[in-house]
Amino acid sequence: MPSDSRMQDSNPFVEIATHLFLEDLAGKVGVAGLNNYLVSLAKNLAAAMPREEYSSWSEFIGAVRDSQSILSTFEEVRPVTERCMSTLRSPFERGWREYAKRVGSFAPVHREVADYYNHKVRPTAVTSVHIVLHTFREAAALYTQGKYAEALPLLRKAQEDGLKDGSLLYQLGYCREVVEGKHLTRDLGGRASTEEMGDAITAAVMQ
């Protein structure tokens, strides 16, 4: 798919303003309140987007790769294997760079709310905006229907976010081990701790 089919980039100033908006909001509602806002807005965003249906897994993978699925609207997703997707760059990268250049160091609240999410929900967020990204991916997957039986549960269940070589590398992994239900956290219907689920995802991705 040619690159002009992708959505145009945002102005990083708007992203900076949004980060400050979240900081101001956290001052009013606290870390837990901000977490709830972020989860809610990501779900609302996914719900507002068009639903999709694919007749086969390969058709779905093609749509993801060609930026025609809502799962690849905001980021470039590349299939690494038939079941594992990766994104080379964070969709927030430009905004972060501009924030650091123009405003300075990040307010601690972005890390604090990520810690809250990692502790309470699942250990996948580095900063506040990852809560939006990860919740969006999960919620968007619910709107991606497939006649191919594996498509929906595979998409819904597993996400991975990792650090490599000192730079952020964002990986979205659809891992069999997790979707089979052995290592799900309580919010996904399982009984595992967030650490156990994180270890399972890591192990699956490293295989």
């Binding site: 102005n11 100033f13 708007v14 908006f21 909001l25 807005l41 965003l45 969006f136």
Partner: protein, 206 residues
């Protein structure tokens, strides 16, 4: 994606704090951002305008700003005390296009906040981001000095994605610029504002 998701957040905020609460939020964010950016000093208008053109000033955070050096603002003595500046593209336009691409329509929350601001604060906004934007520029101008004098910012005219235009009659009179000249600028630019030396005795203030 966070810019597109912002619309959902504003919808939530309107439910909890009302459109006037969102306006206050945005204005406070404008104050905070301006407060976190450093101070700048320039020897004179020439060096400041070069810095704007080269995207070195705090105003450049918004995107590409063009100094309209042929449109000087003079005080009662005829001395140049400021210039007009314009942005060819509003910094919120990419977000509007991204929202239409991803979601299909702009959130009604955008219009609610815009109308609240236009009715009760300053009738110049064409989108909810203008609320933040105007305050941010006003505050950042205080941190920039030209020839030792801090600046003041007057938002003069805006053009929205639907083609709707707004001109601030109050500010146009104050900086003594012909409204027709400003209207003509909106053919090529989406946001026009004036930067003048704070405290200058403008012709329009007499």
């Amino acid at each position: 994606m966070i810019d597109v998701a912002l619309a959902s957040l504003i919808e939530d905020m309107i439910e909890k704090a009302g459109a006037e609460g969102v306006v206050e939020f945005w204005q406070r964010v404008g104050d905070n951002l301006a407060g976190r950016m450093g101070k700048e000093a320039y020897l004179g208008w020439t060096s400041f305008n070069v810095a704007v053109r080269e995207a070195r000033t705090a105003f450049s955070i918004e995107g590409e700003v063009t100094p309209l050096t042929d449109m000087a603002i003079t005080d009662v003595d005829g001395d140049v005390v400021g210039y007009l500046y314009a942005m060819r593209q509003c910094c919120y336009i990419p977000t509007i296009f991204r929202t239409r691409f991803a979601v299909g329509r702009m959130s009604p929350a955008d219009k609610a906040v815009t109308e609240e601001y236009n009715e009760n604060v300053h009738n110049i906004a064409v989108c909810n981001f203008c609320v933040f934007h105007e305050r941010f520029r006003e505050e950042i101008a205080k941190n920039v000095t030209v020839a030792g004098n801090p600046l003041a910012c007057f938002l003069l005219a805006t053009r929205g994605w639907s083609g709707e235009t707004k001109i601030s009659s109050k500010n146009v009179v104050q900086v003594n610029i012909n409204e027709d000249h400003v209207r003509a600028l909106l053919r090529n630019y989406e946001c026009v504002y004036a930067l003048v030396l704070r405290g200058a005795r403008l012709k329009g203030e007499r």
